[in-house]
Symmetry: C2
Subunit: 163 residues, 2 copies
């Protein structure tokens, strides 16, 4: 982890990004994406034109990816939204934290005035704690809004940070 570098995603990164996002979507416990989504549709979602997508490289290997987008149009366009994913075999090594810190800095440079996570599954304790440690507050709780693949109906949280 000495050499983690975060940079904009390039077309050549698609297969590495797919290796990260497809297993997470298939597992279906953290993102509100159809678990049966095709690889092409998953990449189209993660790399859609309304998003800026980044990758985190550790010694040349892509170990994480995140996107940033404007969360709402019109009067809500000063608030951005991000989604982060870390390669399963390297979780717990600070990659998500590094990507989130990068995103907060990037959001400020883009002129956003806040960052909102619309739907954090409440059972994703580690993520919730991480986001809270980075300045996010739980500003909403959606009761029973998520059907977890193993834990049944659980709450989802809305997290928010003014920049």
């Amino acid at each position: 982890m000495g050499s983690l570098a975060i940079r904009g995603a390039q077309p050549a990164d698609a297969s590495a990004i797919a290796e990260i996002i497809i297993p997470t979507f298939r597992e279906g416990s953290t993102y509100t994406i159809d678990p049966d989504i095709s690889e092409a549709d998953a990449l189209a979602y993660w790399l859609s034109p309304d998003k800026e997508t980044f990758v985190a490289e550790d010694d040349g290997a892509i170990v994480g990816t995140y996107y940033m987008r404007t969360n709402q149009a019109g009067g809500g366009r000063h608030v951005c939204n991000c989604g982060y994913m870390t390669r399963a075999c390297v979780t717990g090594r600070g990659i998500a934290r590094a990507m989130c810190l990068h995103s907060l800095s990037h959001a400020r440079s883009r002129g956003y005035r806040a960052m909102q996570f619309n739907f954090v599954v409440s059972t994703n304790d580690r993520a919730v704690r991480l986001w809270q440690s980075l300045g996010f507050e739980i500003v909403g709780r959606l009761p029973g809004a998520f059907q977890h693949p193993t834990q049944g109906i659980v709450d989802a949280l809305v997290l928010y940070q003014t920049l």
Copy 2:
């Protein structure tokens, strides 16, 4: 208001729907839509394939419209989302209430287990009170998430109702 009828929108309703939604988008105080959106794009948004769109007719005149869509995919697909608009000249006559009641019934018939409003501008008091009177609870507050055209930065609310 004796003969309010709510039915699915038809292609021939497009101009009446545009007459309702365009002024609301232009005013920019309630929906997170670019106030400069073209009429074609506004109609494409309101009638997009992921939505079911309805109109409310009073003695043959279209006085309101609403849409229903699945709010999230995957594990969140049991929660729906709606947006309602009433023709400006007929506000205060119970049309929004009638459309919301219709939507709650329709959502149950579609098998949805909850309804969520993602972004209710906090200054829209009348709407907030109406939704609360129909069983919605404020489950989240997004601080400063909306740039109101005349009131500056204001909060937005997340409303939710289990069905």
